[in-house]
């Protein structure tokens, strides 16, 4: 299959970095981020304390904090960041649209609507039921945009506008539910997307879906790069286009849905991380998917660290931080006209 590889590589930009350099740099950024993330909180801890708390479990206060509060939060951050970034990368491969991402495609908004209505309909909602509700919502939102707004004639901009309008629609229903119901504030806080107060149950609920989703995405990465070449090219290379599309869509719903169910709709990770990744390592998805996962996890880690300092000493929801970072980067991309090839 050297020809396929050749095609994929020649369609990449001229200056991509060596995959290993990128991988090592992002891994070390991730590791530094992990330590910073564990050490920052209402009290700042040094590396020594963190190591002790993780590996030599004693009865100290620090150990309790790390074991019950910070470790699950850090693990969840890494998983959700990776899941959202890979979901975005998959969507961009399936639709061949540089603007495709869980938030533009209504997946986040749909999942939010479903979770909000489920929370208010059933007084006691178990975390795993939340995930299923989010899956249904994500499917609904994604399908709406896909059925109504994607197609050969839809330019990137039209898709973005359509997605935004559908997003507005879903969020106004969510607002209606919140307004007409008393138990509003919890859902509202959740709607912003926050990692605050997540514990091991949340990790347990989300991790199987995310880990399986990431693994399948990685295993099928070659098919996704062929798919991103276009339908006719892909089928002439012997790829079962519809099947791969379907699997890709299901993976997106698994990854984005379970993330939204646990931490709320965190935006822009799925849009900008695949862009940065492709810029760094080229369009080959067997590289894009793992590097996206790494960079997505890293970005969300640092965003969550930043969220402690926006209104120090109070913590702000991480969704606000990613929206600010992501939207600014998006503005930069638009100005560079990288997104717009009409």
């Amino acid at each position: 299959m050297f020809s396929v590889k050749g095609v994929i590589q020649t369609m990449g930009s001229k200056r991509t970095l060596n995959i290993w350099v990128v991988a090592i740099i992002s891994l070390s950024l991730l590791l530094i981020g992990l330590f910073l993330h564990l050490s920052v909180g209402s009290t700042i801890m040094n590396i020594h304390t963190i190591f002790n708390a993780i590996f030599q479990i004693d009865q100290s206060r620090e150990t309790t904090i790390i074991q019950t509060l910070r470790l699950p939060r850090t693990i969840l951050t890494v998983m959700v960041g990776a899941a959202l970034a890979v979901a975005g990368a998959l969507m961009q491969a399936i639709t061949r649209n540089a603007l495709a991402s869980p938030e533009i495609f209504g997946v986040n908004a749909g999942a939010s609507l479903a979770v909000a209505s489920a929370t208010l309909l059933f007084a006691t909602l178990s975390p795993s039921m939340t995930v299923y509700a989010a899956f249904i919502g994500a499917l609904l939102g994604g399908l709406t945009v896909y059925v109504f707004a994607s197609g050969r004639k839809m330019t990137h901009v039209k898709l973005a506008l359509a997605g935004t309008a559908i997003h507005l629609f879903f969020s106004s229903i969510t607002q209606a539910i919140v307004i007409l119901n008393e138990r509003a504030t919890d859902v509202l806080y959740w709607l912003v997307g926050s990692l605050n107060g997540k514990d091991w149950t949340h990790v347990q609920v989300a991790s199987p879906w995310i880990i399986i989703g990431l693994a399948i995405a990685f295993l099928l990465s070659r098919s996704f790069s062929i798919l991103s070449l276009g339908e006719s090219m892909a089928s002439s290379l012997g790829e079962r286009v519809q099947l791969i599309r379907l699997i890709g869509g299901l993976l997106v719903i698994m990854l984005a849905g379970s993330s939204v169910a646990v931490v709320g709709p965190i935006s822009f990770i799925g849009l900008i991380v695949p862009h940065i990744t492709r810029k760094l390592v080229g369009p080959d998805y067997s590289r894009v998917i793992p590097i996206s996962a790494l960079l997505g996890a890293t970005l969300l880690l640092y965003a969550d660290i930043l969220s402690h300092f926006i209104v120090y000493p109070y913590e702000s929801p991480v969704g606000i931080v990613t929206a600010l970072i992501g939207a600014s980067f998006f503005l930069y991309l638009v100005r560079k006209e990288r997104l717009i090839k009409q």
Binding site: L99, T144, F148, A149, S150, G151, K153, M154, T155, H156, V157, K158, A160, L161, A162, T164, A165, I166, L168, F169, S172, I173, Q175, A176, V178, I179, L180, A184, T185, L188, Y189, L191, V192, S267, F268, V311, Y314, S316, P317, G319, I320, A323, L324, G326, A327, S328, F330, L331, V334, R335, E337, L339, I340, Q342
Partner: protein, 327 residues
């Protein structure tokens, strides 16, 4: 196509429907008033209902008409100028900017004069529009970058709004009601803020021809002796002011500016004056209907008008998208 042959007739019919419906809407609410009573009260016979009618229902109806017309015209202008059928003040971020500033003033200056709210909403709309223009200026305000920049700005404003909601949870219900857009409790005081709309709407009718020329494309417009950039920016500012003033009074009501221009484009021909008139009438009718449904469906509970417009507007929008796709 028959209907396109008699656009003036169609516009008059819609106008009459609007009049009739505004009369009906006066009677609907937590206390229903019969049309005969309304008629007698309006021509001067005082009755038990005159207080409700003159102090609540009448201003509310007038606000619905002006705001609906303004939002629809603002959307129509944007769609012509940006040559993008999916553009509208709410999608492009102007509404979100107005909302962010309004929420900030509601929460940070709770004791300020009531006049602060509309002023800050207008300021927000203008700020976002200015940033939008500055950013897209490099590309000569080209249509697609304009839309994408609008989406990004709107996300930033949304983050700001959420920050306020999370940080100040005490005021959350007022804020939310306002963010959804509602005509509840509006009175004569608020109509004052709509004066810019009352001035700009007729002016738009006068200058509709220029808008039509602009819609033909930059080159054609320039060869007809128009200053394209000046024209575009003036129309944009009209659109921003219409949106800002409307959002200031009723909150961020969505989908009117997006959906109504499409409907009126299908009903009348390409003549911009008729298009604008039709958009204004249908916009007013849309908001009036939405508000009436909202207050009449399960009194005394009111469904905010913004939710009703979204519920009606979004399916129609999806249908439009589908047509756009199959074209």
């Amino acid at each position: 196509m028959i209907r396109k042959k008699k656009p003036n007739l169609l516009i008059s019919i819609c106008g009459i429907i609007l009049l009739a419906f505004s009369f009906i809407s006066l009677g609907i609410g937590s206390i229903s008033i019969s049309p005969i009573d309304i008629f007698y009260t309006l021509i001067g016979h005082s009755s038990g209902n005159s207080f409700i009618l003159f102090n609540y229902r009448l201003p509310r109806m007038i606000i619905a008409i002006i705001v609906g017309a303004s939002l629809a015209v603002a959307g129509a202008i944007l769609q012509i100028i940006l040559k993008n059928p999916l553009a509208s003040p709410d999608v492009v971020g102007v509404t979100k900017g107005a909302s962010l500033f309004a929420v900030a003033s509601m929460i940070l200056l709770p004791n300020a004069l009531t006049i602060m709210l509309p002023i800050s909403a207008l300021l927000g709309a203008i700020t976002v529009a200015t940033i939008l223009l500055v950013f897209s200026y490099k590309q000569g305000a080209k249509t697609h970058s304009f839309a994408l920049i609008g989406i990004a700005l709107s996300a930033i404003c949304q983050a700001g709004i959420q920050f306020f909601i999370v940080k100040f949870p005490d005021n959350v219900n007022t804020t939310l009601l306002w963010l959804t857009g509602s005509l509840w409790g509006r009175s004569w005081n608020e109509i004052m803020f709509l004066i810019p709309c009352l001035i700009l709407l007729p002016i738009m009718l006068v200058f509709a021809r220029k808008l039509e020329i602009l819609g033909l494309g930059d080159k054609v417009a320039a060869s007809l002796g128009e200053n394209v950039q000046l024209l575009r920016y003036s129309f944009l500012s009209v659109s921003v002011i219409l949106t800002g003033a409307s959002v200031a009074v009723v909150g961020s009501i969505g989908f009117i500016g997006l959906v109504v221009p499409h409907l009126s484009k299908r009903l009348v021909d390409t003549n911009a004056r008729r298009f604008i008139t039709m958009s204004a009438i249908l916009g007013a009718l849309f908001l009036l209907v939405a508000d009436t449904i909202g207050k009449g469906l399960m009194p005394p509970v009111e469904i905010p008008a913004g939710i009703v417009t979204a519920l009606i507007g979004a399916p129609y929008f999806l249908y439009l998208l589908r047509r756009e796709k199959n074209k």
